[in-house]
Symmetry: C2
Subunit: 209 residues, 2 copies
Amino acid sequence: MIFYDCATAPSPRRARMFIAEKGLRVESREISIAKGEQLTPEFRAVNPDAMLPALEIAPGQVLTENLGIAAYLEARFPEPPLMGRSAEEKGAVMMWNAIAETQCGLAVAEALRNANPHMKDRALPGPENFPQIPELAARGLRRIDLFFDKLDRHLAGRDFVAGDGFSMADITCFVFVDFARVVKRRVGPAHGDLLRWYESVKARPSAQA
Amino acid sequence: MIFYDCATAPSPRRARMFIAEKGLRVESREISIAKGEQLTPEFRAVNPDAMLPALEIAPGQVLTENLGIAAYLEARFPEPPLMGRSAEEKGAVMMWNAIAETQCGLAVAEALRNANPHMKDRALPGPENFPQIPELAARGLRRIDLFFDKLDRHLAGRDFVAGDGFSMADITCFVFVDFARVVKRRVGPAHGDLLRWYESVKARPSAQA
């Protein structure tokens, strides 16, 4: 397998943490988004959508999207399970993964991509250029604040986002909450339960992978 | 189980098709988004996010988000599989499901919610109001066109979106492609492979569920 990664971006970090939590060693190639390497013909031969992460699982056979990569790895390397053991847990992991993607991940992307002068015309990832929409940056910040409140409430009395153990839901929430620093949103003492959980995930070796 | 549904909206339709393809009969309750019933205290006691679909799997235990509901049902009722059999297929189904959600579902929502006068201040689903952003409506239309092109190319020589059989990837692509009619985008002869696949999914009993 070849894992196409980018050290600075949140989406490939989710897959990198998933791989590390599985205890897998996978050959990886760094694609620098800062240098625009995801838009080169070489990388677009791997993923025409010009997005990271991507996992080549056999010559010419490439999976993209975090859930595509995770579902494959979970089926091939079931232990430790990161997508739930029981039906209830599998449902809860996917539910919180989706909530984190739409309510936090997309919000951070909106806030960053529509305001950062280095991302002019890169309001969306992918091969097509889209102009920035400043109102979307403001909306993104508001949505991040709402998500921090929500996740803090949810984590009261809990050690993990979904089910009884560490899962992909923790990875997705952690990576997006952590990445919110790029738009000056950081977890602080006002969100005590969120902060406790955040520090516990940050202390895992996979968070340094 | 109690399935909270809305006949007019694409997200609950995805879950409704999934349930129908599994051959399950589930008690359902209609929540009218047109009447704003998802925002009532009664429904927010079921799902504080004020979104559909939702599936109560035990008294007081509710799963939301299509993937939360699908992962639970797939684990509890494995046949027929709708999320892939092999690791490769599971990966491909989740990959295409994610591509359809972000590149088509979100695009249709952008185009509809930011332009429809009946959706003033409802630019996003959920309990919070957000004002419409007209530029986002135009961007959504452009993204739908790009997705129709992409899915048409992908379906050349294929009967199903992912793997060797009908899956959740077909459901998600079909529901969002079909819902694009609300912003005047319809599959036509210019997209021959997309049209052939679209008609084949439309002919399934689950598409009328």
